[in-house]
Subunit: 213 residues, 2 copies
Amino acid sequence: MMKVFLVDDDSSVRKALTRLIRSAGYDIETFASAQEFFKSKPEAAGVACLVLDVRMPGLNGLELQQALRAANVTIPIIFITGHGDIPMSVNAMKAGAVDFLPKPVRQEALLPAIEQALARASRQDAEAAELIQIERRLDTLTPREREVMALVVTGMLNKQIAYELGTVEKTIKVHRSRVMEKMQVSSFAELVRLAEKVGIPEQNRSPGTSARR
Amino acid sequence: MMKVFLVDDDSSVRKALTRLIRSAGYDIETFASAQEFFKSKPEAAGVACLVLDVRMPGLNGLELQQALRAANVTIPIIFITGHGDIPMSVNAMKAGAVDFLPKPVRQEALLPAIEQALARASRQDAEAAELIQIERRLDTLTPREREVMALVVTGMLNKQIAYELGTVEKTIKVHRSRVMEKMQVSSFAELVRLAEKVGIPEQNRSPGTSARR
DNA sequence: TCCTTTGTTGGACTAAAGTCCAATATACAG
DNA sequence: CTGTATATTGGACTTTAGTCCAACAAAGGA
């Protein structure tokens, strides 16, 4: 892991930056166009960042940034460009770019940017991995268990939940215990924190009078 | 509330932008220098944003941005400049600027930026107000109660906490109940969430064997 | 010195939550 | 039709947590 993708239509730039980035100890993979990169499944690259030329024939760098965002690919991007202007750089940064460097690219600027981008990628990756873990557990819950969990983490008492769901306290206890087991937590505090992370009480439960028996 | 501060050493710019901003329905207050603005207690301005010229005699805009950050003043900043370059704009954005607009400033660029900046200020203000509320309650806790709260929100049982703190379960119950009361929560789930917001288990408690009796 | 705050603890319960073992009822897939 | 997953419930307890009343000790201030 720790991979750097480089997308630039100028082969001499690719050659020079490849040498630089490789000598800094990173894995590097280059592409001559945004389309080519986009087809390479960058979402599966693990911890990686993207050094991206702005002006290219076909899809340009900023458009690729939008396309990646639209595809939910969160790889950190460092733009490089020979003919940029302020609005362009500002837009790129607003859209989440790590840096925006004028060409010719100085290694004292590029290498720290890459380091920072990879650090960000690493955090994002860890965060995403944790969320996936949690959602995987959530997927093992039955619909009823999910309902119970959503109410439990609000702090409601079992008897209140039972009334809300039109059943009895005993049943809630059973569901609740299965929720704890399936979510792999050993304390209620942990369950609350898990629920916070995935934003659990987000389901629009019908307000007011719900199903009674 | 909803105030716009404008800092620019050029009085004709101040005049023109004041008219524009006022006509858009915002309160505006202008300053001819960064120092002047800095002395005006901007941290107490409520929901507000700052339109800031980069190049000024004395403290320049970017330096003011750093000074504000150092002073923990989080007012959103929109830079305006007549002689900017890409690295300058990128640095400003990295440091959290909302936008970075070239002069002459077009109102179609400035007004949306102000709107966005004020929206951000509003969120920050709400967030800060909530944290202050919580910390105010935390301040009413005795040292011991804080310790107990920190352990309680990890999900430990009263008896475990008692062992950890070298006392008995009964004592923990008392502290715990006072914590709930002083923090003004009616459920354990709420307490856990409050603790999350202020990052409660952050105190470096001595690891391993702690105080026994 | 006297009072307040803080930290403790006991007794006596009540309430809530959790556990084990069992048993029904329904819907659905094979 | 039969087995499985889901949802439900009872009984019988055990553990935990919470509540009310009372009391005591040490530290610090007024």
